[in-house]
Amino acid sequence: MKRRLLAATTAVTLSLTMAACGAASDSSGGDAEEGPIKIALIPPTSGALAQFGTDSVKGWETAVRLVNEDGGIDGREVELLVKGTDADPATTLRVAKEAVTQDGAQFIGSVMTSPEHGALNAQLEGLGALSFNSLGKDDALVGEQCSPYAVHVVQTTSMDVNALANSIAEMPGEKWAIQAVDYATGHSAAETFKAAAEKAGKEVVLEQFAPLNTTDFGSYITKLKNSGADAVFAVEFGADGVAFVQQADQFNLDDQLKTVLGLNMVSEPLFETLGESIVGYYNNVGYDAAADTEANKEFIEAYTEDHGSAPYYVPADAYAAAQILFAGIEEAGSSEPAEVAEALADLTVETNVGEVTVRGTDNQVLRDSYLGKVVKGDGGLAFEVVTNTSADVTTTESDPACKF
């Protein structure tokens, strides 16, 4: 009896679920040629990355406020749909699908991590939406995972590493040690850096990789101390980076080092946590806040007015992504994602991060990369840009693995 009951329950439950879904379905995206232009933002709202997600949304908000105050694009208003994800690729995909098919979004922004972008890129063409990546730096996103519907606004990791490697002469130290995360990024960064160091006549005395989410760096730091290195190139992100900096401090590692160079290790949101022990550290910087251009000044002024704090690279890149999108829509004379994507190919746009070009072969935005040094200013810690390296040097050609 019970068995029969259970089978009956299945049928009833499932058909009820489906009926409920069926009744609510049948909403589709708005007409692409009329009504507001809709951009879905899908930042992480939980996990260690939430802060970056929130700040990225702020950059978009400022850009949209300014463009709407100017009467929109071709008279059409721009509307932001702010969603959220836990940074799990599956969640992000689900939210993206919902935003495109239910809410009629044509464009996607503020997606954070590279795995999320990888998963999203695979589906963009089917969804018919154009994604603007201002956060995920993985090289594969403009390589084998590239999509004609994904614009890579942020510099790739290899662009950043190349810029650092190109500036190696600027930093004191002869014997370098490399401490990197055991992750694709860590390995490729280490390789590029090592080659550049040797070319510049420096010696690489130690190269070691720590798994992602390492909490205790004691063994690694002890090895660094014993290696006799006088400079360290560190590729450690997020909590790993904080743990590394903090434990290096406890081991007095800095005493024997002339230079600590980080890749994505030290950034503005972490300044307060890391404290003054990082003064003098070098790190790659995605955006030069001090750049003396009209577009940049306008951005900083508007952003500070909106959010009460000065922008750093995350909102700046989001704002740049918005500028590129708006330029693309204007160029295409349409907000149809396919047409915008086509119009963006090899388009040059004046943005807050300088004059940039969208490379037609892989949709990488060609822009400068910077080397910064942490200095103590009036308002606390800040980056001082030491060198800037143009895209001609950091990325000479697109990855052949990317085929549109």
């Binding site: 009951l5 259970l6 049928a11």
Partner: protein, 347 residues
């Protein structure tokens, strides 16, 4: 330590088998009839649910249900609670990814391969864990599945698994999965029949196994393993077979999941994912075959609607505690109790 009492979560299932062999046969036939009817009714779903988003939620729920009924089968028939079935789901998904992307196999063969890989892991893990029970079993399955996670994100595994970056499935445009090209496979409306057929078939098979002589042996082991051993039964073999069977069902879910999403990330093997499926199955209730399915659909619904601000786990944690404290047996178990009470009241 005191002996572990049979779990309350599970016990409501101890259904009295039908008395006569004829009644048993009749029950089986009726059950099969209902299964076929459910299967056919389900196939009409894409005509009712026309928008892709809701359809993709239904597909996701169906595929995760395969994982959940695997977990539920072990809980119902052996009283064993596993936190390790995510490993089989994930191993199968990676198997599909590796076979298509690295070796250029056709997606159909790759899905078969994925199921074999997942089941293979179930055999290995089963050999190590089925001797234990209760908490030992729970922790061992958790630890071993986490070992698989740790291995999958190793840099040396990168060519195979893509490590932390995950793995994007790619195969030639002219290759198809049972007639569906890669673009169509990602279309939930077109993929639905495969997911639905897989779920109804697996559920039916598990149901039939549960009714068979083998199922009775399993229940005997669950109730008192020592007595079964003294009565001359081998208990290791049946436990292992049941474990592998439930692992195989989870593997099928994982393999289809990989094909459908076109992307496998290590989260699939993670602690959180394993916990989520177990919670979904528990909330639905282990006592009935459909319990884990109901729980999984509820979970997918909650995930799509209550995840704002990342507070999903606050709610799932709460749901788990409430169900365990106030309604052991889960939602379906409580409905069942209510139904029986009403019937008794009427007489």
């Amino acid at each position: 330590m005191t002996t572990t009492a049979p779990t309350d979560v599970v016990s409501p299932s101890a259904a009295a088998p039908e008395a006569s062999p004829r009644g048993r046969l009749k029950g089986t036939l009726v059950g099969l009839g209902i299964a076929v009817a459910t299967l056919l009714a389900g196939l009409a779903v894409p005509y009712v649910v026309t928008d892709t988003y809701r359809m993709s939620l239904l597909v996701e729920g169906t595929l995760l249900s395969l994982l959940a009924i695997g977990i539920g089968f072990l809980a119902r028939h052996l009283g064993l609670i596993s936190l390790g079935h995510g490993a089989f789901f994930g191993a199968a998904a990676y198997g599909v990814g590796i076979a298509t992307t690295n070796w250029g196999w056709s997606p159909t063969t790759a899905v078969g391969f994925g199921v074999v890989v997942g089941t293979g892991f179930a055999v290995v893990m089963g050999l190590l864990v089925v001797r234990s029970s209760g908490f030992g079993f729970l922790m061992l399955t958790l630890a071993l599945s986490q070992a698989l996670y740790a291995l999958s994100v190793q840099t040396s595994a990168r060519p195979l698994t893509g490590a932390h970056d995950g793995k994007l499935l790619s195969y030639d445009r002219d290759m198809t999965f049972l007639g569906l090209a890669q673009r169509d496979v990602m279309n939930p409306g077109l993929f639905w029949p495969m997911a639905w057929i897989a779920l109804t078939m697996c559920a039916t098979v598990l149901w039939l196994v549960g009714r068979s002589r083998f199922g009775t042996t399993l229940e005997g082991i669950r109730e008192n393993e020592e007595r079964m051993r003294f009565s001359g039964y081998d208990t290791f073999g049946p436990r292992l077979v049941a474990f592998v069977l439930s692992g195989a069902v989870a593997s099928l879910g994982g393999a289809l999941f990989a094909i459908n999403s076109g992307y496998v990330s290590p989260d699939i093997l993670g602690f959180t994912r394993a916990g989520d499926s177990l919670i979904a199955a528990l909330v639905g209730g282990f006592g009935l075959l459909v319990g884990p399915i109901v729980g999984t659909f509820l979970f997918v619904y909650a995930q799509a609607n209550f995840n704002f601000g990342g507070n999903l786990h606050l709610f799932t944690g709460m749901a788990l505690i409430l169900v365990l404290v106030f309604m052991p047996g889960g939602i379906t178990g409580s409905l069942q109790k209510l139904y029986h009470r009403l019937r008794r009241g009427r007489r």
